[in-house]
């Protein structure tokens, strides 16, 4: 099999030095993806012809001394809920079968502007609703470390693609942990930026007050490079942040002296979860402490209510956002309908999978007359309490460290029949979305041969701080350099 691709930084150096061409890199990426694909299921589609053509254009730009950026010509993958003009956009759903996007999402437009070449669209839980990439109409993605296990989700395809080295980095989206949890399960870095840091234009909406585009990569340095490409204000997204984008890579000084790392006592329970996971995470914090950081205990008292709050809010928003799939303007339309009303019902029933229907129904329930105050409004109030928890904790620390997930990757099918147990795998990630904060998952060890992730959380716009700490950790350890055996 062709070799795994290196990091963004390594590939940028190689292109700069002229030791390889963009065309060679993209061909290597496509060949590796195709060789791994039958067993892995990371991609929903490869853009072989277009990607090779774009790589040739990148080579010509570089030959005349005018690359679009140091990353010009490097292959990347994109989760299939981000629109790319002229390409299918499926969201892993039957209801978008045959849909071809008429425009390009802002995040992907930023990739193109920097010359990065999108080689493929990656698998996901349908409409990004899930934690295992099992809820995709195309079938599951498998965990590169154990094919009987899930890669996590919903950005499981992006995480598996990066872990197996068919691309050095990929875009995902994170509504309740959908970048960080699969990053943790697949042994790669996953960064969810501050809400609004990356434009959501052209990111198919799931829960609009929580959705955020994120990056998956092999190292914190690569995550910094890619975030720098996609972040920024977008006049076409009124929730995107106007603050200028800092040079994230320049923030990676390796220096964490004096950094106060908060350990939320509620995230390290005496019982429950996997004790070995907590031990790895504590060892990672100890590593940062030995590099000069200071550990402080903080409290996030409403943590245990985060999952319930999250699932009430995200389903309410989803039930509203997914009303647009009605068979009129695009996507699947049931051929078995006599009237318009029948067409709506049959189209949606045939087009949506079980988890999406479950969430639409729950969201419809919590927004319906008589239940709105007790469920939806209540959840919004608890969301305020969760935000305040973080504000208070950050009076005593600069970053908060937690496990990304309470356990390593679970088995395929293990939680499919029990939605609540599936939802509980998001226990350490959803609060961050409810509070709109930036957070990263960094590989910090293995349990039973499966990767474990350290999550670092910062106050709003603290991306430079989480990246600096993550990079400092990676300068001192080599967990991020491990690859699954078959992909080595």
């Amino acid at each position: 099999m062709v070799a795994a691709l290196g990091t963004l930084r390594e590939l940028a150096h190689a292109l700069e030095a002229g030791t390889c061409s963009a065309h060679e890199l993209v061909r290597q990426s496509l060949e590796r993806a195709e060789a791994l694909e039958p067993a892995l299921g990371a991609y929903l589609g490869l853009r072989a012809e277009a990607a090779l053509r774009e790589a040739e254009e990148a080579d010509r730009r570089r030959a005349r001394g005018a690359p679009r950026s140091p990353l010009d010509g490097i292959p990347v993958a994109v989760k299939d809920n981000l629109a790319i003009r002229g390409e299918p956009l499926s969201c892993g759903s039957r209801i978008l079968r045959g849909y071809v996007s008429p425009f390009t999402s802002t995040a992907v437009a930023h990739l193109e502007r920097a010359g990065l070449v999108v080689v493929g669209r990656t698998n996901l839980d349908e409409f990004a609703m899930g934690s295992s990439t099992e809820h995709s109409c195309a079938g599951p993605t498998r965990n590169p470390f154990d094919p009987e296990r899930t890669p996590g989700g919903s950005s499981g395809g992006s995480a598996a693609a990066v872990a197996t080295g068919s691309v050095p980095a990929a875009l995902g989206s994170d509504t309740g942990g959908s970048v960080r949890q699969p990053a943790s399960f697949c042994g790669v870095v996953g960064l969810k930026p501050t809400y609004g840091r990356v434009s959501r234009l052209g990111l198919v909406a799931f829960a609009s007050s929580l959705d955020q585009v994120g990056v998956l990569a092999r190292s914190a340095e690569d995550a910094a490079l890619l975030l720098g490409v996609v972040a920024g204000h977008d006049p076409a997204d009124s929730t995107s942040l106007p603050q200028p984008v800092p040079d994230y890579a320049a923030a990676l000084s390796g220096d964490v002296s004096g950094l106060r790392i908060g350990i939320p006592k509620e995230y390290f329970p005496e019982q429950g979860g996997n004790a070995a996971v907590f031990e790895r995470v504590r060892a990672a914090v100890a590593e940062l402490v030995s590099a000069g950081a200071r550990e402080v205990t903080v409290s996030l008292p409403h943590t245990r209510h985060a999952i319930a709050t999250y699932y009430l809010i995200c389903t309410a928003e989803a039930s509203s956002n997914l009303a647009r799939y009605d068979g009129v303007r695009y996507g699947h339309r049931s051929p078995r309908a006599r009237t318009l009303a029948e067409m709506y019902r049959r189209t949606r029933s045939e087009g949506f999978g079980a988890e999406v229907k479950r969430r639409i129904l729950l969201g419809t329930f919590v927004l319906s007359a008589g239940y709105f105050d007790a469920y939806y409004r209540k959840a919004q109030q608890v969301r305020t309490l969760i935000r305040r928890d973080f504000e208070r904790a950050f009076e005593h620390c600069d970053l908060i460290a937690t496990p990304t997930t309470p356990e390593p990757a679970f088995r395929l099918g293990e939680r499919e029949r029990d939605p609540v147990s599936m939802y509980l795998s998001d226990i350490y990630t959803v609060s961050v979305n409810l509070a709109g904060l930036p957070a990263i998952s960094v590989p910090c060890g293995e349990v039973g041969g499966l990767p474990v992730g350290l999550q670092l959380i910062a106050p709003p716009l603290g991306e430079p701080e989480v990246l600096r700490a993550a990079d400092a950790y990676q300068r001192r350890t080599d967990w991020h350099r491990r690859r699954p055996a078959e992909a080595a």
């Binding site: 071809v100 009124s238 209510h305 319930a308 695009y330 959840a379």
Partner: protein, 102 residues
């Protein structure tokens, strides 16, 4: 308040609101799922949230304003290209009223 049980009748009403048509087996399974999820989220009722303002959105931004400048819209021919059925640049749909009602 107690989490309500979800009867099949409740579920049919919700499905109707959400424009979903559910088979009998599907409806029974979903009613059980919803009951279980509602049982789980009921824990929020133990929290006293009197006087706590709801968070609809984390960014306390004022609605940003911009100049109203004309821009090129998506051409109708392109917008219609994904339509399951169309005539010219109009979307075609099945009859709106049931003929019995008309």
């Amino acid at each position: 308040m107690d989490a309500p049980g979800i009867t099949l009748e409740d579920l049919r009403r919700l499905a109707d609101l959400a424009r979903l048509e559910l088979g009998d087996g599907e409806a029974t399974a979903l009613a059980a799922d919803l009951a279980r999820i509602l049982g789980f989220v009921r824990q929020l009722q133990e929290l006293d949230t009197a006087g706590v303002p709801p968070t609809a959105h984390v960014m306390e931004l004022a609605t940003p304003l911009r100049e109203d400048e004309p821009d090129a819209p998506l051409p109708p021919e392109e917008a219609i290209r994904n339509a399951p059925a169309h005539e010219g640049t109009a979307f075609l749909v099945p009859q709106v009223l049931d003929s019995d009602e008309a």
